[in-house]
Symmetry: C2
Subunit: 417 residues, 2 copies
């Protein structure tokens, strides 16, 4: 299988649960660092290369601090994400603020931090100028529309709410130039969870061509292109990860052919940075046998929304039973009062017993981050396996008090019905 | 249109936003009470009728206190929901605990409150007995499987994780009887958001027949049937609400024909109780025109997940512009960095201007309750329009501090990378 193996075996996980009861998300620092280095190595030919970690994938400052130490910046689209970046010492152009439908107070915080502002729409040029003032460096987000095919998750670019059209880009950069902006970047993001390396090379190609045209027409120089994120991960065993070296080499060939020398290549991946290196560890609470076989875990959609929300596949393993025949076909469910609260449907597993640990793979991105409190379900903790083998808690589990924090129970007494 | 009109007009809403900035959910107490009374009236023929409000739809104790004053109980499936019920003075058999894949500590809290335990699976008989002990009254959840067709949201019953099969019901009640349980109820829930009144009458029919058979075979008496929830609401203007009197009358006819006299009819609706009587009030922050027209609000999926999560239709109105021609076709978006963060797609609205208030209808159930914090987005406040015209805040908006509550920023300093 292509899934990253959980770094702790059954005995080690059982030992861990004595201190940290299931469910929890477990991240692997060594694997995150190795992957980060592989991405940097693939772009070592470009001295200004920078990956801005898409914070929404795993908004945990401990993970972000590790990524910062690997030279990664942060891609943010809200004030809480900017504050997380600030908390780990990121500042200035180590942060890119790629938001849409943005309120002024969010632009203000981004500008205060000196973050690169990536504008989503031509109308935001005047909005930003009026509300806060234009910074020296501005990036614009390009939406190629029907010129570029989409993929399943992001849909067709012409149906996406993001970005400038091509004519708007020309008009927008002209406005920015005429308003005194001196430094420029160009951004696009047209894929999500895409496994074909060619997609990212083509995206860079698109931006290289566009920069040439924009520079020629407007007499401006671009410091960087940001090809967005969207590098997928092999959620299914038969899938293969994107070969990062292929992406890097392919973009390099185009870069050199186009004669660029000082243009920086930037990315804002999230999923591929932490996704395969985080596991949701849970325990079998019940089994039931009605019209199908069910294995019920002590976790639910709150811990991992993707299967219930998108019908997404996540690989499931039963530690200690990896080598047994996988002939027990079941639905793996959570306890939420929603029938789509299933981690897996008709999945062939080894014989599962109540009390077994179950590991759900590729939960390191868009996992904990997307959890809701529907049905009064509480979000679980996050643990980190350090390089020295120690496991530390990097987020505590939610409590009932957290869940009730926005309610005034004292006021209820004076509420006459 | 069939949508319940927002009880405040543009001027009143503008006045309100001076004290409570958008976005917020606004609930209408008078409308909730009137609807609750209509439901009770439809079942007035059954002295033991009780509606247990499905707390997950709108887990706010202020709303629950109003519903309690109308004689409604609570349908819970987690400890936080049980605690909310307790906070408004509900106890004992005013609460039904309808959960699945249930951990022992949740059963314990339900038993401590004296709630009716509704078992989801035959294995839970032994589990409950071993972990806590069996209460005097037990209800079992029936899943009719392929005998009964499903609907779009709940899927086919045979694919649903819930309930006992028919043979398991016979075996289960026999076990319960032999273990000394004295009082019995029977539950099913096979629809969600269903607008056909016949569906609920048929469901009661199914349970009436089954009770006769179970009673005859096992020599036990049932105190109640619980036909579950699932009464839909007309999200689309061309849809009509379920006529509650038709449901009540239809079930009455079957009840009398079957010769029941002391059997109570119970329900656990959520959506139809608060859904049409809550509105998400938001404001237009931006407009953009690329490959489509976009209207960007100051709210997002976090405030209302259903359109982004299910592609669900929610009616959108622009207060003060209800009577203008609706010829501006646009997508109504939020600011989340997800392309599915759209409240409406290709919707015909009146000409919309930046700064306009926008009302999203039918947000009173599964609205605030389902919100996530993805992308660092914070959940908004809930307001209640009292019967006397006063507006009170019944939940404050989340703050950045709430969002960061489970993180230890102090520990970050000692976290060596």
């Amino acid at each position: 299988m292509s899934q990253k193996k959980c770094p702790l075996n059954r005995e080690q996980l059982e030992e861990l649960t004595k201190q940290f009861p299931t469910p929890f998300h477990l991240y692997d620092e060594a694997a995150i660092r190795a992957n980060a280095r592989a991405l940097k190595a693939a772009f070592a030919w470009n001295p200004g290369f920078k990956e801005y970690f898409a914070v929404k994938a795993a908004p945990n400052p401990y993970l972000m601090k590790i990524l910062r130490s690997e030279g990664f910046g942060a891609d943010c689209s809200s004030v809480p994400e900017l504050l997380l970046s600030e908390s780990v010492g990121l500042s200035g152009e180590e942060i890119i603020f790629t938001s849409n439908d943005t309120p002024a107070f969010e632009y203000q915080k981004a500008v205060d931090l000196g973050a690169i502002i990536n504008l989503d729409d031509i109308t935001h040029i005047d909005y930003l100028e009026e509300q806060i003032g234009l910074p020296e460096l501005v990036c614009c987000r390009y939406n190629p529309g029907p010129l570029k095919g989409g993929n399943a998750i992001i849909g067709h670019p012409e149906e996406a709410k993001y970005g400038f059209t091509r004519p708007q880009l020309f008009e927008g950069y002209r406005m920015l130039r005429d308003k005194g902006v001196k430094r420029f970047g160009l951004h696009t993001m047209v894929a999500s969870n895409e496994l074909d390396a060619k997609y990212f090379i083509e995206t860079a190609h698109l931006l290289f061509d566009l920069i040439k045209e924009l520079s020629a027409e407007l007499g401006i120089t671009f410091e960087f292109i940001n090809i967005g994120g969207g590098i997928g991960i092999p959620y299914k065993p038969e899938q293969e990860p994107v070969d990062l070296q292929t992406v890097g080499d392919g973009i390099r060939a185009l870069y050199e052919k186009a004669g660029f020398t000082s243009l920086d290549v930037r990315m804002e991946c999230g999923r591929m940075v932490t996704g395969p290196f985080g596991w949701l560890v849970s325990r079998v609470l019940h089994k039931k046998n009605t019209y199908k076989q069910y294995v019920g875990l002590d976790s639910c959609m709150t811990n991992l929304m993707r299967p219930g929300m998108y019908g997404a596949y996540h690989h499931v393993t039963v530690p200690g039973k990896e080598n047994l025949p996988h002939d027990f076909v079941c639905d793996v469910t959570g306890s939420l009062c929603e029938n789509n609260d299933k981690f897996a449907i008709n999945r062939a597993l080894p014989p599962v017993d109540i009390g077994d640990l179950v590991v759900i793979h590729d939960a390191g991105a868009h996992g904990h981050a997307m959890g809701f409190n529907y049905n009064g379900k509480l979000r679980s903790s996050e643990l980190l396996l350090r390089e020295n083998g120690e496991v530390v808690q990097i987020r505590r589990a939610e409590t009932v008090e957290d869940y009730f924090a926005t309610l005034n129970f004292a006021g209820l007494n004076n509420f006459k019905v």
